[in-house]
């Protein structure tokens, strides 16, 4: 497993809100544990603001199965966390710059066709009309324009991944 594959795994984890991956395969052993809102909250005082119902995660989230199939009792349902302590805050430090968000729901593609080079790579300079990706929705390939000027700092979504409305796609350093 090379560095690129590990990076992709991490990206998939982030996109799919996976907390932990333990993989053992053909002599390779890897364990990746994400910083989660829950672990970030440890040591917090209970005297803070009262808990609220908040959907903590931006992005398409899959809830853990409601109950363990058998064996030990399932964990207590995930505690609801105050808005400020959601994943967004935890991820903030790595998000310097402006985000280009998805204007629609669909599937994210970095290139115009399979095998073709991506529209943009990290480091690329973009203008307002630069096509930066495609979001496929209802069999239509929608070319998404940057609508801002700057330099791509990070691609936030893996090629071929589903995206929801308003989901950050690229991180851009304005120039």
């Amino acid at each position: 497993m090379n560095l690129e594959e590990i990076k992709e795994l991490i990206s998939v984890m982030r996109t799919n809100k996976i907390k932990e991956i333990d993989l053992e395969q053909e002599g390779t052993k890897i364990r990746i544990v994400a910083i989660t809102p829950a672990s970030a909250r440890k040591g917090e005082s209970r005297s803070g603001p009262a808990p609220q119902y908040v959907v903590a995660h931006p992005g398409i989230m899959t809830a853990p199965p409601a109950a363990a199939a058998n064996g030990a009792p399932p964990p207590v349902p995930a505690p609801v966390v105050p808005a400020e302590e959601s994943a967004q805050r935890v991820e903030k430090p790595e998000r310097a710059g402006k985000e280009i968000k998805s204007p629609m729901v669909g599937t994210f593609y970095r290139a115009p066709a399979p095998g073709a080079p991506p529209y943009v790579e990290v480091g690329a300079t973009i203008g307002e009309d630069t096509v930066i990706c495609i979001v496929e929705a209802m069999k239509l390939m929608n070319e998404i324009k940057a609508e801002m000027r700057g330099r791509i700092v990070e691609v936030l979504v893996e090629n071929g991944q589903p995206v929801e409305f308003n989901q950050p796609l690229f991180l851009v350093e304005p120039i």
Partner: protein
């Protein structure tokens, strides 16, 4: 404690009624709605072992339907047109989550034939009737014609859309004033006006056409005889793809303000078994003739002489479906899902039993002292009632926001009692226990209704609020 049981399984305690293998309906259902009805569908899915996808607008990120679904997808901004009416984003959400069916709830896209059609094209099962049935029964003028052809009495009026004031005037003079002007695409009480003479009719037609054009994108209006203080009585029907259509009795929804229901109950207090059989039979016959599939509601007006007239049909789950569920011990949403998956209904007409009396009060964020104007805001306290015979269907919780973008429904409070008196007393008790702070609610209004002698006596019509409230 000493454990001496060496062979616990050797002597079974008798026949254990092992359940039949579970039927496979769908793997994953996307709910194209919000609020309490989205939660209602999620509850049914969870109990059936079906995964759920919630879609939500950016205003609803903290909603319970988002929290309780297995997956959730943001589909647009707060305005309904950007999100809950945004067909491409909803279909895309179903595709990226690999949902194999969509439940539309009520309102929004529930009675939109082209949405049902698009689902069909995308091979996503729409949980509701096929597009042609929605089109036929959802257009009020066409539905009236269909019903009339099936022998169901309809309110006298125009045969479909009236073109102009002159045509309307001729019809009105034939059937007699007062008449009511309705938009063919209207609903929920919007687009209606009453005319008592030629002059108000002429101006009414023109205004109604203009209004309907703006509100519904369709300026078609029709007129019918305006009945004086009738009861609004509707029949719940269920149909499947195997030719079965049954009804689950009636609901009396006469307590309305501006044609919007506030209290619903079943049985209707003035109903007789004979009349129920006649109305139920008429609804079932018409739906069978139309090839109706899924849950639907046939709305009638019942006049003082116990004559009933078809008014319109709703081709979807109704807000007030729980009162029917609690007296018939059925789960209408589960039946919708069964039927959409191609299974037959789980019960026949002969198996439908009515037990007790149920009432639903809609707890809205509204100020009943100022004409029921909506009062959106944040709930600072929320404590629902409990105990025997009480059901609460609600997406509310402490600190939740009742958003100005959507309707003002906070909760549906449903009670069941042995008889109407017990149901009314239970409703009072439950309303007294319901603690909501932060917004004004209709709870005090409902408490007033429950004590009103005309309501308690049962012989009230759709004018009840105009006639008795605040007087």
């Amino acid at each position: 404690m000493a454990r001496t049981d060496k062979a616990p399984k050797e002597k079974p305690r008798g026949e254990v009624d092992s359940p039949p293998p579970r039927e496979e309906y769908f793997r994953k259902i996307l709910i194209a709605n919000r609020g309490e009805v989205a939660l209602r569908v999620i509850r049914a899915c969870r109990e059936l072992g079906i995964q759920t996808v919630a879609v939500y607008s950016t205003a609803d990120v903290d909603s319970l339907h988002v929290r309780f679904a297995d997956q959730h997808v943001c589909i647009g901004g707060p305005a309904s047109a950007e999100s809950y009416l945004n067909i491409p984003n909803i279909i895309s959400a179903a595709e990226i989550t690999e949902a194999d069916a969509i439940h539309p709830g009520y309102g929004f896209l529930a009675e939109n034939p082209s949405f049902s059609h698009i689902c069909e094209e995308c091979r996503i099962q729409f949980i509701g009737p096929p597009p042609d049935i929605i089109a036929k029964m959802g257009d009020k003028a066409v539905a009236k014609h269909t019903m009339s052809a099936a022998g169901v009495p309809v309110v006298p009026g125009s045969d479909g859309i009236v073109k102009d004031p002159a045509e309307a005037e001729a019809i009105a003079n034939r059937i007699g004033y007062p008449v009511i002007i309705k938009a063919v695409a209207g609903g929920g009480g919007r687009g209606m006006r009453v005319a008592t003479n030629d002059r108000t009719l002429r101006t009414g037609i023109v205004t109604a056409q203009a209004e309907a054009s703006v509100a519904f994108g369709n300026d078609g209006v029709y007129i019918e005889k305006f009945l004086v203080n009738p009861k609004h009585v509707e029949i719940q029907v269920l149909g499947d793809n195997h030719g079965h259509v049954i009804h689950l009795g009636e609901r009396d929804c006469s307590i309305q303000r501006r044609h919007q229901k506030l209290i619903e109950e079943t049985p209707c207090p003035v109903m007789t078994p004979g009349l129920r059989k006649k109305m139920g039979g008429a609804a079932v016959d018409a739906c069978r003739a139309a090839g109706y599939v899924g849950a639907g509601t046939v709305e009638f007006l019942l006049d003082r002489d116990m004559h009933f007239y078809f008014m319109e049909m709703n081709t979807r789950i109704q807000v007030e479906h729980p009162v029917t569920e609690v007296v018939t011990n059925t789960d209408i949403v589960k039946e919708q899902i069964r039927v959409a998956a191609g299974y037959p209904l789980s019960l026949t007409q002969d198996e439908v039993r009515f037990e007790g009396h149920a009432i639903e009060c809609r707890i809205n964020a509204e100020d009943h002292e100022r004409g029921f104007i909506p009062c959106p805001g944040t709930l600072t306290t929320y404590h629902p009632p409990g105990g025997p015979g009480v059901r609460v269907d609600s997406h509310a919780y402490r600190e939740c926001v009742i958003s100005p973008h959507y309707d003002s429904l906070i909760a549906k409070l449903i009670v069941r009692g042995h008889n109407r008196t017990e149901a009314i007393e239970r409703m009072k008790r439950a309303l007294d226990e319901y603690i909501i702070e932060g917004v004004k609610t209709t709870i005090p209004f409902h408490l007033w209704v429950m004590e009103n002698p005309v309501f308690r006596q049962g012989d009230f019509g759709t004018n009840f609020i105009d006639e008795h409230f605040g007087k």
